[in-house]
């Protein structure tokens, strides 16, 4: 039963990911006084891309062809580490959050390589900028996870979620607030949202993620887009599991699980609205201000870690 729920969790993360994107786009359209596309639009986009053929640049090697598969594989694997409706996940063991962070890095490593393989300037440009952002984002990412791990004395994501579930919601410590702030900033940088990267533009001055995938088309592009949607959804789910798991099902009864699922949807919706407000409200940062943004995230996460030693003492 538990295994079935864990499997269902992973499937929800993977299959529901395009919907999250669709709702974000719709929210942004609403805030910008536009009509906007249907929230199901990402699914029809994917379906359209799957029906097309792959166009491969003449300079491309096998690496270009493998990257969408590897990227999708690693992202699916990341989805199996995140708890959703109950504090456990399909895969997971002590210290699994290091694995999660580095799995994301594995996908990104290959995507950056794909940027080079087209032989144009855009791909290398995207890869170079991604290298900067991701190398600076990794430290605050891990530090904020370490802060909550130390606070809960658990070294796995499911364990941390279970511990937080047992705490009083009004009794959260400063560590939680700092770690949440830092992790939220990292999520924005990692998933390429505003103000670090603009997912809706193809302007060469600004693009990071889009620069690397510029040469892709057809099913390959579909898998890359789907993977980045799953990544965004998994990161939101991670934020919820670590900092707001209240409402997760502690027993395997149908009632508890449906309540947990409803609450989860509400929490994701809240984060989506927050994201849409941020994206509509702030301008994209200049490339060389991104290190400052991530520097603030690093400082905040370092503070979170330092405060754990005070709280625990």
């Amino acid at each position: 039963m538990k295994f079935a729920i864990n499997l269902a969790q992973a499937l929800i993360l993977i299959l529901g990911a395009p919907l999250v994107r669709g709702i974000i786009a719709r929210c942004k359209a609403f805030l910008q006084r536009r009509q906007g596309a249907s929230i199901w639009r990402p699914y029809s986009d994917l379906a359209k891309l799957f029906r097309k053929e792959d166009l491969v640049p003449s300079t491309a090697s096998g690496v270009f062809r493998v990257v969408p598969c590897v990227l999708f594989g690693t992202t699916i694997c990341v989805a199996t580490f995140v708890p959703l409706v109950q504090p456990s996940a399909l895969l997971g063991s002590r210290g699994d959050f290091f694995l999660l962070v580095y799995l994301l890095a594995l996908g990104r490593f290959f995507l950056s390589l794909a940027g080079f393989d087209g032989g144009s300037a855009f791909g290398g440009m995207g890869a170079s900028r991604e290298a900067l952002v991701s190398s600076l984002a990794e430290a605050p990412f891990l530090l904020s996870l370490v802060a909550v791990a130390v606070l809960s004395s658990h070294a796995d994501i499911a364990g941390i979620a279970a511990w937080t579930l047992g705490q009083n919601i009004f009794n959260i410590s400063a560590v939680h607030i700092l770690a949440f702030t830092s992790l939220a900033m990292v999520v924005i940088a990692e998933t390429g949202r505003m103000p670090v990267d603009n997912p809706t533009t193809h302007l060469e001055l600004t693009m990071i993620h889009e620069g690397m995938v510029l040469e892709y088309s057809g099913p390959s592009l579909a898998f890359i887009e789907w993977a980045s949607a799953v990544k965004l959804h998994a990161m939101l789910a991670l934020l919820i599991a670590l900092f707001g798991p209240w409402g997760m099902a502690t027993s395997a009864s149908v009632g508890a699980i449906s309540v947990a699922l409803l609450l989860y949807s509400a929490k994701v919706a809240l984060l989506i609205v927050l994201l849409a407000v941020i994206e509509s409200g702030v301008a994209k940062l200049r490339m060389y201000l991104v290190p400052d943004f991530l520097g603030v995230a690093s400082a905040v996460s370092a503070l979170a870690v330092i405060f754990t030693t005070l709280v625990k003492r």
Binding site: E53, V70, G119, S134, L143
Partner: protein, 662 residues
């Protein structure tokens, strides 16, 4: 029976590397003779692998005591720690020798080829002696031979003035380090009956605290010089790139590890931990080396220099693990000390595999294109698919990505940092927990660095005529590369096989370390992760089949040239910009012709890092010594009466010392 066969195998390894192979090489010129000698080198290393793995997995050992025949105690023995490092040497030596078969054939004439193989074989022997020595003298003889033979191997490639200068700095630094190591050994003497490891170990309990600390510091400095920790690393980016590629592979992959062996032997086995602050010192030196090493590596465009700096980084990571282990040892937390030590020792093995693979790859590239300058490469993956695939494995491994071996060891070190949380009420927790961030930054920068290496060299369009016409490496080279890549993947996907004996080794070095639970959790989850990723990858690959080859999008222009791609320099620009305080670059842009600054025909750009250890640390030091020497010259008057007076005064003072000695 088993013990006897191990002993026979060990003797065969020593004798065939030290005597047979060089003798056969010198005896005949025919190709078959040379091939026989080379197969002797390969074969004895395969035997060495079996011997080492028997000792490592089955916990048996072998001792060869030659003290009866030598002037001083000379004995070799294999215990668990030696077995690990012997395994490192022999496992790397087999593929490197197979690779070298084709590499030396291509690059040297008959005369030099015989010399290079003879030196190569003896160099391997010297490293085997270092890691299996069980007396101080045997260790020091091996240590010195190792330095001299590697310098000889560098000089075989040529003897220009610049090369000579680099080798001079290499030898100078090595001997300064060796002096510290020798002093470390001799400080044991008043308390220990001899310089064999057994009596040194028993004597270490009786050492006064001051001497103990001094030995520790000397060992750290001496072995740190050989390992290449910053700021003692200046020889490394000079010596490693100019050696022939298979030799660079051995120097970076294996020789640096003998220094880690020496430090682990001193700090853990002989001394059993140091003063309370030593762990923090080792940890912070390691962190600084790793961070600066990778930052220097990113800025390099010469592949072999880049790899040399990345060795500094990895040695830094290893010392971070060792330092963490010492901290836990000092705070009486043996379980976590064991975990950190296991991570450091596994990283030793992993780095040996992927760094020698990378250096061999650089050799394959230079064989195919006659350059290792990244700015002149590109598009090699389509021309050298197998070499490219193996190097991709190496790049992923060194970046510490999951499913590759570098991740497993870095995970263990990360996990041990997290264990700092149990040391509440000491000053350890904050330092160790924040180190997670430092190691994460290092990992992120390493990934950026090796995206650059593989992306610029192997993907896109070729940037030069030579890269355009590159051809796949010959069979022997591919075999060597393939074996190393397979080993990287094996440890990366199924680490449990290797972790179990490693845990037993750690339990020997750190009494009370029962780490299996922590180490096995990674061994359990990694194969599942691999299964999911590979499964999904294969399914996705099968799903998308239709494809059409088209021209790359060029914004509607007629076509792209290779000059329009991102280069290695440009790729690293954002990171160099952010960390510009580390590089303090000196940039020069020249536009020609000068009278038309807005319509230049020719633009040249130079950017040099101006932070230099030679200038800021070594030059003042050398000048200080020279000025002292200058002062001392006043003693030399050239007057014979004055010299007689010196002798007289020396005798009087010696007599006085003898008279008043208690």
């Amino acid at each position: 029976m088993q013990l006897v066969s191990i002993k026979i195998g060990f003797v065969f390894l020593l004798v065939s590397l030290g005597l047979f192979a060089p003798l056969v090489l010198m005896a005949g010129k025919a190709k078959t003779v040379r091939l026989f000698a080379i197969s002797l080198v390969v074969g004895s290393n395969i035997v060495g692998c079996f011997v080492a793995s028997q000792c490592f997995w089955r916990e048996s050992g072998a001792v060869i005591d030659l003290s009866r025949f030598t002037l001083f105690p000379f004995a070799l023995g294999i215990d668990r720690l030696s077995a690990l490092f012997l395994l490192v040497i022999c496992t790397v030596a087999v593929p490197v020798s197979i690779f070298a078969l084709s590499y030396f054939e291509k690059h040297y004439d008959d005369q030099r080829r015989r010399w290079v193989w003879a030196f190569f074989s003896l160099f391997l022997l010297s490293m085997v002696i270092v890691v299996t020595a069980s007396t101080g003298f045997a260790f020091l003889i091996g240590w010195e031979l190792m330095t001299l033979l590697s310098a000889g191997l560098i000089l075989i490639e040529g003897d220009s003035a610049e090369r000579g200068h680099n080798v001079f700095i290499y030898l100078l630094m090595m001997h300064a380090g060796a002096a510290a190591v020798i002093a470390g050994f001799f400080l044991f003497l008043p308390y220990s009956p001899g310089l064999d490891f057994v009596s040194m170990r028993t004597a270490s309990g009786a050492l006064p605290t001051g001497i103990r600390t001094l030995i520790f510091v000397l060992a750290f400095l001496g072995f740190g010089t050989k390992a290449g920790i910053i700021p003692l690393h200046i020889w490394l980016p000079r010596a490693h790139p100019i050696a022939p590629s298979p030799v660079s592979a051995l120097m970076s992959g294996v020789m640096l590890k003998t220094a880690v062996y020496g430090f682990a032997r001193f700090a853990f086995d002989l001394l059993g931990g140091g003063p309370w602050w030593c762990g923090y010192a080792v940890l912070s030196v390691g962190a600084v080396s790793a961070l600066l090493g990778i930052l220097y590596a990113i800025a390099e465009n010469d592949l072999k220099r880049l790899l040399a700096y990345s060795s500094v980084e990895n040695i830094g990571i290893i010392f971070m693990g060792l330092g963490t282990s010492l901290i836990f040892l000092a705070h009486h937390a043996p379980v976590w000390a064991g975990l950190a030590l296991a991570g450091a020792l596994l990283h030793v093995f992993n780095h040996a595999l992927f760094k020698s693979l990378l250096f061999l790859g650089a050799g394959a590239i230079s064989s195919a294109t006659h350059t290792v300058n990244l700015e002149e490469l590109g598009g090699l993956q389509r021309r050298m698919p197998f070499t490219g695939a193996t190097l991709l494995v190496a790049c992923c491994s060194i970046a510490g990505l999951p499913l590759f071996n570098g991740f497993v060891s870095e995970w263990l070190i990360f996990r041990s940092f997290l264990g700092g949380a149990v040391l509440m009420n000491t000053r350890a927790p904050i330092v160790l927990l924040l180190m997670v961030g430092v190691l994460a930054l290092i990992g992120g920068l390493a990934a950026a660095c090796f995206v650059k290496v593989f992306g610029v060299a192997f993907l896109g369009r070729p940037r030069s005529e030579a890269a355009e016409h590159a051809e796949e490496s010959p069979f022997a080279m591919r075999t060597g590369l393939g074996l190393l890549a397979a080993a990287c993947l094996w440890i990366g996907i199924a680490p449990g096989f290797f972790l179990r004996p490693l845990v037993s080794l750690v339990q020997v070095l750190v009494p009370g370390a029962g780490v299996p639970q922590e180490t096995l959790s990674i061994a359990r989850v990694i194969p599942w992760t691999a299964a999911i990723i590979l499964g999904v990858t294969i399914i996705v690959a099968l799903l998308k089949r239709r494809e059409r080859v088209v021209r790359t999008w060029a914004c509607g222009l007629p076509g792209l040239t290779s000059r329009m791609q991102y280069t290695s320099t440009v790729f690293s620009k954002p990171i160099r910009f952010v960390f510009s305080s580390v590089y303090k670059p000196d940039r020069k842009i020249e536009r020609l012709p000068e009278d038309q600054p807005y319509f230049p025909v020719n633009v040249t750009y130079h950017s040099v890092r101006t932070t230099s250890y030679e200038k800021t640390i070594y030059r003042p030091f050398v000048e200080m010594i020279l000025s002292w020497a200058h002062q001392l010259r006043r003693l030399q008057t050239g007057n014979i009466q004055v010299y007689l007076l010196y002798i007289f005064l020396a005798i009087v003072s010696l007599l006085a010392v003898l008279r008043f000695q208690p």
